[in-house]
């Protein structure tokens, strides 16, 4: 079964500090994409960052970066210089390269403390 595990139901970070959200996944496939989505109170899922599994280089988008360890099936998200607007639920997900569905984790609720 395809699973995504986010072991941290809740995290908090001081404004301007750095926080890392953890994610592990389980799949027997080799070609897939990995994602971090943000879900604020508005409920819309917003793409934060993505990573192609065939790329060894970790993806970076401004203050957001990932640590992708394919052999360990680990995909953590680092948020630098945290801002109040970063407060939200964060979901880790993957999708097969030729597939049609996302497999999501259960989410991590991030609180940013002013």
């Amino acid at each position: 079964a395809q699973t995504v595990t986010q072991s941290q139901p809740e995290m908090s970070v001081q404004e301007a500090e750095t926080v890392t959200l953890s994610c592990t996944y389980d799949t027997s496939e080799s070609d897939y994409y990995l994602f971090w989505y943000k879900q604020p109170p508005s409920r819309q899922m917003i793409l934060v960052i993505r990573q192609e599994a065939y790329k060894q280089q970790n993806a970076t988008e401004n203050r957001f970066s990932v640590n992708f360890q394919k052999a360990a099936k680990s995909f953590s998200l680092k948020i630098s210089d945290s801002q109040l607007g970063d407060a939200a639920m964060y979901f880790c997900a993957y999708r097969y390269q030729t597939g049609n569905q996302f497999y999501f984790g259960t989410g991590t609720s991030l609180t940013v403390i002013p």
């Binding site: 995504v4 994409y33 994602f35 989505y37 508005s42 409920r43 819309q44 899922m45 917003i46 793409l47 993505r50 979901f91 997900a93 999708r95 049609n100 569905q101 996302f102 497999y103 999501f104 984790g105 259960t106 989410g107």
Partner: protein
């Protein structure tokens, strides 16, 4: 450029009733996927529609059905509602073969009482 639009935003139904949720995809997208997000959980894939046909289905009973119209908009129908169907229902649109370009709507919050 309008994103994904879902209606209604909230609704309350009684157990045993039927409900229809609606989704208009982002301009240019022709593929629509539906997800169920129970409270405290991540979204679960229900099905995907492309060219007015169900292309792939997740592990949901036949009470969940859908439709896609020629203008690419879509409906999700749930029959014989159960209390456990209470959830946020998300719609996502995309091109048929996206590398990653899915756009999600803000969902419909369904409460079954």
């Amino acid at each position: 450029d309008a994103g994904v639009t879902q209606s209604p935003t909230h609704l309350i139904k009684t157990r045993g009733q039927q409900v229809t949720l609606r989704c208009s995809p982002k301009s240019g997208h022709d593929t629509v996927s539906w997800y169920q997000q129970a409270l405290g959980q991540g979204p679960q894939f229900i099905f995907q529609y492309y060219e007015e046909e169900e292309r792939q289905r997740g592990n949901f009973p036949d009470r969940f059905s859908g439709h896609q119209f020629p203008n690419y908009s879509s409906e999700l129908n749930v029959n014989a509602l159960l209390l456990g169907d209470s959830a946020l229902y998300l719609c996502a649109s995309s091109f048929p073969r996206p590398s990653y370009g899915y756009t999600f709507g803000s969902g419909t919050r369904l409460t079954v009482v």
